[in-house]
Amino acid sequence: MNREQLVEELKQQIIEQLNLQVKPADIVASDPLFNEGLGLDSIDALELIVLMQQKYRIKLANAEDGPKVFQSVDTMADFILANQTTQAG
């Protein structure tokens, strides 16, 4: 899967996991997910940690890494690609 596909897949998964009332096209990959952006909060961050684990087998060591990784769909995609490469290598 290339990065573009991953970004689209992530948008769909985020909407499903968080039961967001928006369409994938409404989410701009570089926009912030939390607060002013999609209005996500700390509970959503915990949901996204599980999503990363379930779908991508990537475990965030602690909840404090959340804000950095979950800044936007872009940062999530980067984090997944970086960690999957590490695992494959």
Binding site: Q21, I43, E47, Q54
Partner: protein, 330 residues
């Protein structure tokens, strides 16, 4: 104690009753589900995404009752729920079993807490007032009302938001059916909230004259109480009984004796045929009674010929919970 705002969501479409009236129909679906209004204008979509049915209908009826009474910030928020947030409880339990306690997500757990409805109302209103949740089976609503009454005697001039909510889920339906709960009546669910104050206002629906709960009383204790609150000696007799009696109810004799103790030839409407059976159905009955007293629109042949002045709500169950609520027109 006066009901100065009231709102309900029930299998019978009643949410817009004040503007659209009620088209009375008996509930026929075995698994009675509430007729939900279009929530898009009622709650922020960003907030509704985590709300299960019990939370949605609880929050919306609470906000509606407040709006009618023009109260922005109540001085207490009291909620009765016998079962609590069953949908979220079921979701979390199912995943717990299926995922073998791994990779679980927090939302369902958080929302499964019994006080979620009252808490969400407080959160939406940014209301720091006293907030409590009662979970005592078929007394859950009545115990909330009794707390409202006590609070108003302790705090003159204040406004209390009080109500009840319960939801029927696929899991709870299967289980309760196995217990025989739906032998005589369709399963039901619903939410109703009331804004109550010590004084009547332009938006008043009715006065709550008395609230009584009894747990496993003798029949004589029960009938004595019924006589004492509805005795013809009082200047106003009871005009109508809203009864929790079910079809072919094993307690039919008890309902009959209560009716007789309340007065002669009082018409009876069995409210569970509209909302289904669930432990806080008396909150729906309280709403319906208040609606009839406010609008004077009891369907012909159901109620007294005169506009009703006093409505008695009585319900009991197989566990020995009994409750009586007496409503008066104002």
């Amino acid at each position: 104690m006066f009901i100065n705002g009231a709102s309900a969501i029930s299998p019978l479409p009643v949410f817009d009753a004040l503007t659209k009236g009620i088209n009375f129909e008996f509930l026929t679906a075995a698994k009675g589900r509430v007729a939900e209004p279009d929530y898009s204008n009622l709650i922020d979509p960003k907030l509704i995404r985590r709300m299960s049915r019990i939370i949605r209908m609880g929050v919306v009826t609470a906000l509606d009752a407040l709006k009618q009474a023009a109260i922005a910030n109540p001085d207490a928020i009291l909620t009765g729920t016998a079962f609590g947030c069953l949908e979220d409880t079921g979701v979390f339990l199912k995943r717990l079993v299926e995922n073998k306690e791994e990779m679980l997500t927090p939302t369902a757990f958080i929302q499964s807490t019994h006080n979620t409805v009252g808490a969400q109302v407080a959160l939406l209103l940014k209301c720091h007032s006293y907030n409590n949740t009662y979970v005592q089976r078929a007394h859950s609503f009545e115990l909330s009302l009794l707390d409202a009454q006590l609070w108003l005697t302790e705090h003159a001039g204040q406004a209390v938001l009080v109500g009840a909510a319960d939801e029927l889920t696929d899991y709870s339906y299967s289980l309760l059916e196995r217990f025989g709960t739906f032998k005589h009546q369709c399963g039901g669910e619903g939410a109703a909230y009331f804004l109550v104050q010590s004084a009547a206002s332009a938006s008043s629906w009715a006065e709550i004259e008395t609230i009584h709960t009894l747990y496993q009383p003798t029949e004589e204790e029960l009938l004595e109480l019924v006589r004492s609150i509805s005795a013809p000696a009082k200047e106003q007799p009871v005009d109508l009984i809203l009864s929790g009696e079910e079809n072919h109810d094993e307690k039919a004799h008890l309902y009959m004796n209560v009716k007789a103790a309340a007065g002669d030839n009082i018409p009876v409407v069995n409210y569970k045929q509209f909302c289904g059976t669930y432990p806080t159905a008396s909150a729906f009955a309280c709403w319906l009674g208040a609606y009839w007293l406010k609008t004077g629109t009891i369907p012909a042949g159901w109620g007294p010929v005169m506009p009703a002045k006093r409505i008695l709500i009585y319900q009991t169950d197989n566990l020995g919970y009994h409750s009586l609520i007496l409503l008066k027109a104002c």
